[in-house]
């Protein structure tokens, strides 16, 4: 098991390497550079700036420098926010984005799984219809639309919550719900299907016929087995939350790293862009390993080699 985990974790390194090379090449293929302003800089100034930041070097050398600095934890200076390093920017925004993601993930799991279980236990009765309606709504509403609709109803019409920002618990509510909407729907759908399948299993019938109380059949046999396949969709869910948070941050004007990411591309802020991409790629790759390991931990029948 430990060998498996180490191998999977080590595999992240070549993935990150490939992602960084692709991003680096793509980024430099984009016309324009970080110094493009509405009023063009004099050529001499631009040449000096390029020399100062090493942008006049051949690409492989620029990449080499970046890679060495990255390996030592130095993300470089930001080209746009010239008084700040990329490390500062990431450090500032990361916790906000992280907090939003964790809260949305928690909400998705805490609402989605019980909804799915209730739907399966009340199959073809009102709990089932309620869950199905909620999951249809969740799947058919892109998160930015859900965010805007929440603002319309709860901020503009009812005035219960602020329309944006990230200042205190009351500003957290709407963005978290908006981001969690889609995952709630997916998790609920999946849990319901998985529960329904388990219900038909022989060991459930055995448990019932040997007189186990219904309550403990449900809690000890059905739910525990039904949740195993649900773990597999947590990986894609987490990846969704990472990208989804960028859009939600924009809708609700939240000072996370998503804002910077979108801006970094349009302003050709090379170092910021690289840092954000690596952070994203690492998060996705790492979370996938976590989910796979979790899967083996929950279901002892699965053995990795």
């Amino acid at each position: 098991m430990i060998r498996y985990i180490t191998r999977r974790l080590l595999w992240i390194i070549p993935v990150l390497f490939a992602v960084s090379v692709i991003t680096f090449l793509l980024m430099h293929a984009v016309p324009g550079g970080p110094w493009a302003r509405e009023k063009a800089l004099p050529d001499a100034v631009e040449a000096r700036l390029n020399a100062k930041y090493g942008l006049d070097q051949p690409l492989y050398e620029q990449y080499g420098r970046w890679a060495i600095a990255f390996a030592t934890g130095d993300l470089g200076p930001s080209y746009r926010y010239q008084d700040r390093t990329v490390n500062d920017i990431v450090a500032d925004g990361f916790w906000v984005t992280f907090q939003l993601g964790v809260m949305a993930f928690g909400l998705a799991v805490l609402v989605g799984i019980p909804l799915g279980i209730l739907a399966a236990l009340g199959h073809n009765r009102w709990p089932d219809y309620l869950t199905t309606s909620i999951s249809i709504l969740g799947v058919t509403t892109p998160s930015f639309v859900l965010g805007i609709l929440l603002i319309v109803v709860f901020s503009v019409q009812l005035g219960w919550f602020p329309t944006g920002g990230w200042e205190g618990p009351e500003t957290w509510v709407l963005p978290t719900i908006a981001l969690a909407g889609f995952p709630i729907a997916v998790i609920a759908r999946y849990t319901r299907a998985s529960m329904l399948e388990v219900t038909r299993k022989d060991y459930i019938r055995t448990a019932h016929s040997k007189g186990v109380r219904n309550q403990s059949v449900v809690s000890r046999h059905m739910i525990r087995n039904a949740l195993i396949p649900v773990v597999t969709i947590l990986g894609p869910t987490l990846a969704f939350l990472v990208t989804g948070s960028f859009i939600i941050e924009r809708v609700f004007n939240i000072p996370g790293i998503g804002q910077f990411y979108l801006n970094a591309i349009s302003t050709r802020d090379y170092s910021l862009l690289m840092a954000m991409t690596m952070l994203y790629a690492f998060a996705v790759a790492f979370l996938n390993v976590v989910v796979d390991v979790l899967y083996a931990y929950i279901d002892p029948r699965i053995r990795y080699s």
Binding site: L26, V30, P31, V139, T140, T141, T243, I247, I265
Partner: protein
């Protein structure tokens, strides 16, 4: 199966016509009410996407300045027209462009997203998945590691960069910038289909009929095209149908953040972004496009779920 089964005494033998996969599937699909609703909505969306501009009361970019001035003179203030005012069923935006006509043009965009993106996904995902599944071993390993990288690569970044790189080229401007967005979305989302095809091939390869075909010396290429792909096509159709909502979401999200279709055209996502500026006074500018997106997504989701249950009853209810 050379034994002839004789009916037991008293047993009524009902002729069962040999039903192919598709007839069987259609029979099951027809009984699924939600899937039929989805099918009907998909057909309606396709119809609106193709014929929308002919039904639309106005050209999508035409400004009805007269109506705006008239509204101002009648004391409504300057701004978007409300639904039903001055001959605009769903009202207009602040420039006097008819919302219904713009929504119909948006339907055309969503339909092309649905079709083109999935085509790109199929063109990339099926060959890669098929090669990986057929030549398992080192090549398979290599291709699957490659999909790992694509999976970890932020798709949003890739799409944005691609759109910036090609903005000024003929490719970037084709179909008001849409073609590039479609290709970019396709390039980032073929991995699921590739993995699916590979898995299908790996299990089909071990079946007896493939072994038999190989034993009598059928060429590899023929086995793939005649035996493996037709048998694996059901799940692929399902994956493609269920992938459409994802593509529509991606396009509308990109348009919402301002990358995507170029003005004066507007997709439902950019209509929402525009309408959001008037959210306090004119919530219908956001509401109507949101309803359009939701119903388009619902239609493909219902149909996809139904197709999955119909084509692969074993998977009933699973994703």
């Amino acid at each position: 199966m050379a034994t002839v089964t004789r009916p037991l005494p008293g047993q009524v033998v009902r002729e069962r016509r040999s039903a192919g996969l598709w007839r069987d599937a259609w029979g099951r699909l027809r009984k699924n009410r939600l899937a039929l609703v989805g099918l009907f909505m998909v057909l309606l969306l396709l119809f609106l996407g193709i014929f929308g501009p002919f039904i639309a009361p106005y050209p999508y970019a035409q400004q009805d300045l007269k109506a705006i001035q008239q509204a101002a003179a009648d004391g409504y203030g300057i701004g978007p027209l409300n639904p039903g005012q001055y001959g605009h069923v769903l009202g207009t935006d602040q420039l006097g462009r008819d919302l219904l006509s713009r929504l119909l043009d948006g339907a055309r965009i969503s339909v092309s997203v649905a079709l083109v993106v999935q085509l790109v996904i199929l063109l990339i995902g099926v060959p890669i998945g098929a090669i990986a599944g057929w030549f398992s071993g080192r090549l398979d390993n290599l291709l699957m590691r490659f999909t790992d990288i694509i999976y970890a690569f932020p798709d949003l970044l890739f799409i944005i960069i691609l759109s910036v790189v090609f903005r000024e080229t003929a490719f970037g401007r084709a179909f008001d910038g849409l073609l590039m967005i479609f290709v970019a979305i396709g390039l980032t989302s073929w991995v699921t289909v590739a993995r699916l095809v590979r898995g299908q091939l790996l299990s089909l390869k071990e079946t007896e009929f493939v072994e038999a075909a190989r034993a009598i010396g059928v060429q590899d290429r023929k086995i793939i095209t005649k035996h493996l792909l037709p048998n694996g096509v059901g799940p692929i159709i399902v994956a493609v149908t269920l992938g459409i909502p994802g593509a529509i979401i991606a396009e509308s999200t990109l348009s919402y953040i301002g990358i995507g279709v170029q003005p004066p055209r507007a997709s439902w996502g950019s209509l929402i972004a525009e309408g959001y500026k008037w959210i306090r006074a004119e919530p219908h500018l956001v509401l109507f496009p949101a309803i359009c997106i939701a119903s388009a997504l619902a239609s493909f989701t219902f149909l996809g779920d139904g197709l999955r249950d119909a084509l692969d009853p074993k998977l009933k209810g699973k994703q």
